[in-house]
């Protein structure tokens, strides 16, 4: 058993200096960072804390960049082994950076990578002083990934315990975030009424008052749910509460999801051409963020609408562009039969409509 105390190498970086240092480091090429690691204070826990915060801020706008940076700094802290800060700080940074990399992979539908990063995160967080809080945040990301993999039963089984943990730990914001999973799970099992109830409760929660992004995400989901149940007026009103906030925060994922919700409203109200146009806009927005799974899911929805309009060739084109991505990302584990039928029918240039609808029903709705 080691009793050695490692004294904290005190650089006395202030909070502001650390934020500036983080910004500067992120502007440099990765090899230059390594060469200049000492003068850049890259081993300083204040700098690493600011870097984690900057990477977290990129998750909703630049998930590819967030993944790349989180991985870079994880590797930096991990090997060669560096003594970072005091007590549990090295373990915390390994856990946090892996959690950020995993969350970014989740956004980008890089599922297998996401699970590996979550395992790495657990390995770090197990050794932190406040392990219960850190592991609960990790459990949230794991459940969110399970939701995207449509393991709805598991999500609904484990969610109450997670929400209880957050409440016991006094993490009110995280408890509220976990409720998004509950609402989204209801959507997945075709219970839009219950989902709307949950999202409305989130939007009205006092905790959301101080958190515009969280509240805007609740209104985004309400846009989608009201669209699905054909209440166009409520859907448009909900979107109007979300869009300005996302614009202000430059939350590109949030904006793309609202756009998806509005497109669904148009489709449900029978405005097929404007709906296709709106879905394409959402698709373009996802394209700029690199969210391939959402782009592919939207291609299938658009294909369905194009078939309604008798544009079979265009529909086939959409399907052909989506199928390789669906395969590569293993997006429809329960929909393999439908996927095969659709693939075969596309090869015959005669789309199997039932398979198409079954398949795009498997893809996630634009939740938070």
């Amino acid at each position: 058993m080691s009793g050695r105390i490692i004294r904290f190498p005190n650089h006395n970086l202030s909070l502001q200096q650390a934020e500036q240092a983080a910004e500067h480091i992120l502007s440099l090429p990765q090899d230059e960072r390594i060469r200049r690691k000492r003068s850049l204070h890259m081993e300083d826990p204040e700098t690493l804390l600011a870097l984690c915060s900057a990477i977290r801020a990129r998750l909703t706008s630049y998930p590819s960049s967030a993944r790349e940076e989180a991985e870079f700094f994880f590797r930096f802290v991990d090997k060669p082994r560096r003594d970072i800060g005091l007590f549990d700080e090295r373990s915390y940074f390994l856990g946090e950076l892996a959690l950020l990399a995993g969350a970014a992979c989740r956004q980008l539908s890089r599922r297998e990578e996401a699970w590996i990063w979550f395992d790495r995160s657990e390995a770090g967080f197990r050794h932190t002083i406040n392990a219960a809080a850190d592991l609960s945040r990790l459990a949230y990301q794991r459940l969110a990934e399970r939701l995207e993999e449509r393991q709805i039963d598991i999500v609904l089984e484990l969610l109450p315990s997670l929400i209880e943990s957050f409440r016991t730990l006094g993490m009110a914001e995280d408890a509220l975030k976990a409720r998004f999973l509950e609402g989204s799970a209801f959507l997945e099992i075709d219970e839009p009424g219950k989902a709307a109830e949950v999202f409305a409760e989130i939007a009205d929660d006092p905790e959301a008052e101080d958190n515009p992004r969280l509240r805007a995400a609740a209104f985004t989901n309400l846009t989608q749910v009201y669209g699905m149940i054909g209440d166009a007026e409520a859907a448009i009103a909900a979107s109007a509460r979300a869009i300005p906030v996302f614009r202000q925060l430059n939350d590109r994922i949030g904006l793309a999801k609202v756009q998806w919700g509005l497109a669904s409203v148009l489709r449900e109200s029978g405005q097929i051409s404007p709906a296709i146009e709106a879905y394409r806009q959402a698709q373009e927005q996802f394209q700029t963020i690199g969210m391939r799974a959402d782009i592919a899911a939207l291609s299938l929805v658009i294909a369905d609408l194009l078939l309604d309009q008798g544009q079979d060739a265009e529909a086939l084109h959409e399907i052909a562009s989506a199928l390789p991505v669906i395969d590569a990302l293993k997006m429809a584990p329960e929909g393999m039969a439908a996927l095969s039928l659709l693939r075969e029918s596309a090869l015959r240039q005669q789309v199997n409509r039932a398979a198409l609808r079954e398949l795009h029903g498997y893809f996630p709705q634009p939740d938070a």
């Binding site: 058993m1 080691s2 009793g3 050695r4 105390i5 004294r7 904290f8 005190n10 826990p45 204040e46 804390l49 915060s53 977290r56 801020a57 800060g85 005091l86 007590f87 549990d88 700080e89 915390y92 946090e96 002083i129 406040n130 219960a132 809080a133 850190d134 945040r137 730990l169 006094g170 993490m171 009110a172 914001e173 995280d174 101080d210 958190n211 992004r213 969280l214």
Partner: protein, 119 residues
């Protein structure tokens, strides 16, 4: 993601000042650190705690932070004593018993005892 407001940050940082009496007592009377060692520990714990409250997107409650702080103080005291003893037993049997316990357990007892005495 919500950043803690300045008021939240001040409130969280005040946890350290509220706990300082317990931390000093833990390090000096429980883990038998010298005055100089305890002062160094206090300085390190303060720097660490100021970063602890800024971890993640939203910090845990004041109560959880307080427990984490006392736990870190116990970890510090135990590690330093074990290092000073170079693997030998202390002549002070009560210190040996304390060093054989996990810092988290000791921290829980200390908090309980401290809270009872404050009432």
């Amino acid at each position: 993601m919500k950043r803690p407001s300045p008021a939240d940050t001040v409130e969280m940082l005040s946890i350290f000042d509220r706990s300082i009496e317990l931390i000093r007592w833990t390090l000096r009377s429980y883990y038998r650190l010298t005055e100089t060692e305890a002062a160094g520990a206090e300085e390190d714990l303060r720097a660490w705690f100021h970063r602890l409250v800024r971890r993640g997107a939203s910090p845990p409650s004041a109560q959880i932070l307080e427990v984490s702080l006392v736990s870190a103080a116990c970890q510090y005291g135990r590690s330093l004593q074990l290092w000073k003893l170079h693997g030998e037993k202390s002549r002070d049997e009560s210190l040996n018993i304390l060093l054989s316990r996990q810092p988290d357990d000791v921290a829980r007892d200390l908090r309980h005892r401290f809270d009872s005495e404050r009432k």
